[in-house]
Structure formats: structure tokens, C-alpha cells
Assembly symmetry: C2
Homo-oligomer: 243 residues x 2
Amino acid sequence: MKNPTAAMLVIGDEILSGRTRDANMYYLAGEFTRIGVDLLEVRMVSDDAGAITSAVKALAAQYDTVVTSGGIGPTHDDITADCIAAAFGVKIGLRDDARDLLAAHYAAQGKEFNAARQRMARIPDGATLIDNPVSIAPGFTLENVHVMAGVPSVFKAMVASILPGLKGGAPLLSQNLRIHRGEGDIAGPLGALAEDFSDLSIGSYPFVQDGAYGANIVIRGQDGARVDAAMTRLAAEFAGDCA
Amino acid sequence: MKNPTAAMLVIGDEILSGRTRDANMYYLAGEFTRIGVDLLEVRMVSDDAGAITSAVKALAAQYDTVVTSGGIGPTHDDITADCIAAAFGVKIGLRDDARDLLAAHYAAQGKEFNAARQRMARIPDGATLIDNPVSIAPGFTLENVHVMAGVPSVFKAMVASILPGLKGGAPLLSQNLRIHRGEGDIAGPLGALAEDFSDLSIGSYPFVQDGAYGANIVIRGQDGARVDAAMTRLAAEFAGDCA
């Protein structure tokens, strides 16, 4: 059984300049793994209309689901919504339901619903809104692309809004063994294990601890009995080297 | 004056599954900004030969420099070197100088230089080695692609090895103003500023602090006097709202 596939597009100069460390990708990766959606690719691009539009087109064509983060606020560098509309060849304009949400929100706060804030109600034709309980300004879903804010607290809230509507697959079961031997010593038996359990994903993630090499071996699969069997064999082979 | 452009390819299931949070992208972004290389795109793909090869081809054709991280160790899931060779249509085989480096290293440690460890001396034809003072197994440069390890301490050491050979541009000067007003209040004056200083990059990065909205405004450019002028005007416009 194949799981649904997904990609993520992180938008923003602040990520690529090293000013801000992205947190949304790491969060989304964990959530998708939990519900059985395979995140297969992430791209990060700057606030450049051509780069955003072509990345959205490429990812939306290749994967079941695409999530974007960043560039949907009120300032001049927030151009994501226009790029999504361009990628799908649809119009974009002020939308009544989004404008009403925002108008009520700013009225309650005694803040002016000015031209900049009205920009956040510009939504591509045919999209559905994504609820934003944190700061009200909605994200949106157009075709298979979910467009969300870059501020981590808002991004998380929007992910929570779309997850119930996403079709997940079988959650990936995962077991981990920490082996205090260099990968060079582990590689032979591990390669043989990977051949015998070709239905599982077996990864080796090296580390250095107190100057000594080791590796975390992660065995993943949808069949818990198979994961158990592979892990039992691995643990027996490295019985003396595990923490 | 245009700066050299760069892209990064992060390779590894552990990143996309959310098991590990990538640190190398954030590090490389900071180093490239410091020497005036514009990191314009990052892609993250899983340990899949087709995905790695096609991403390398696409990025190497589009950017001046490409850096990859991950997948060059001794285990069965380390397939990056083969994918790079495939992307450039060159052969790959055991290379004498890389093998000698590794043989001496393992001999000194009293460890067997077995078949798995010898895999790390497989280098595509025409590549030059990248020095690895941490764990010896070298990275390599083929054409405009620098292939490095995923372990952060080794990745950093390899970045240090290649930086002196990279042609940088004018370092980007950057000034930052933290404004305690919502982006919706800032957006109007900020947009006008961005129009008047179209030679600069002006970004707005919202935050929430103690329940109140604010934004960090970052002004970047190669001409320090212009950055100063734009920042002076911005600071005057929001004199009462800055920390």
C-alpha cells in the first residue's frame, strides 16, 4: 500500500539569508509522518515571484499534496497568494468572507482595517479558506496546494485546521537502535539486513559522542511484525555495542 | 553588481521524516551571506537515486555553485556519490588518493579497512577531494557541485575547506529595526520606503510577543550609505514604537 505523497515549499528571504532558522518544515515533517503522509521533497525559495510560481507548479504536478509557508501577510514582500493564482492561471481578488472575518477582527480590536490589512483578504478564485484561530487572516487551499503563514504559531494552527481533511496512509512504524560502533563496522551486516528486509526502510544516522563514533539505526515500515523481526536480528548482531 | 548564486541540496530520509532537524542549511546560509554568495534555493530530498540525481542536474544547471549534504558514508543508504556521477554522466570508482588517506587513518586507529569503509573512497572521475579534518573520509567537488557529509561537525569542516576557493561578491550589509506595531500598521509606510529604495531589499518578519504583534524590519544592500538612509527614515517614522 502506497501512502499519499507530499511536498513543502518554504518561502522567504529570511530563511535563505540565514537570519531565521526555519521551524515549520521540521514541524510539518513530524505531523505528516504521524498520519502516514510521505513528505518526499522540500524546497525553500526567496521572495521572488518567478521562483515561487515555478516551484508551486512543479511540486503541485508531482505530489498529492503541497503545503506552502510564508508570504501571506500585509506587507509589500508578501506575494505568495498572487503567485499561487498565477501558477494555476486563475484570477485573484478581495473576497467577501475573508474581508468580513478581518473587518470584524480589527473592529473588535479598535484597529483600522486599512488597505494593507485588506490585502490579506485577497484570495485566488476557487480557493477555500483555511481557518486561523491565532491571528484570523486566513490561509487557503487551491487544488492540492495549502497556503499557510510563516509565523510558526500561526503555521501550526493552520496545519491543525487542514489535517482532519487530509487522507493519510498507514502510519509508519519506527524502531531505533543506538550502536556504539563506527558506521564502517556496522555497514556490512546492515547491508545484508536491508537486502533481507527489502520491504522496510533501514537508515543509518552516524553521530560522534565524546570523540567516539556511533550510529542510530532506524528501521521503518508499515508491518509491525516485520519491523520487530528486523530489529531483533540487528540487536542480536550488535548485542555488545548498544546503550 | 550581481553576486554569485548558490543552491543547496539536503539529502536524507531522516530530515523528511522529522526525525532529525536539519542544521546544515542554516549554517551554510549564514556563511554564504557573510562572503557575499546569494543562496537562492534549497531542496531536501529522500535517499532516492532518481530524486537526488534529478535535483542535482536541475540545480547545477541553474546556479553558479551547489552544495550537497548527506549520503556519503559507508552504509547501504549512502548513494550520493553514485548519483552525482550519474547526474554528470561520468564513471565512479575507487580512487587511490582517497583510499590511501582512509587506509592510513584506520591503520592508525587499529580498525579494519573493510569493504564498507572502502566505499568512502569511491569518487566520480574528474572530481577533486574536499579535505575532512574531522573524520578523514573526503567530500569532493565535481564541476560546480560540492558534495559534503551530513554530520554537522563534518559538514562545517568541509564548508571551511571550500570557502577560500569560492568567489564571493560584495557582502550584504544588513540593518534591523524591531517595531512594536502590527504589520498591518507598518505596511503602508514600508511599501512606500521599498519603492523609494528599490535598490535595497526590505523585508518584514512578523512576531508575536506577550500577545502583542510586532515586526522585525530588515534592510539589506551592498551600499552602506543607502542602507543607512533607508533605516534613518524608517526609524523616524516609527520613533515611538521601537524597542
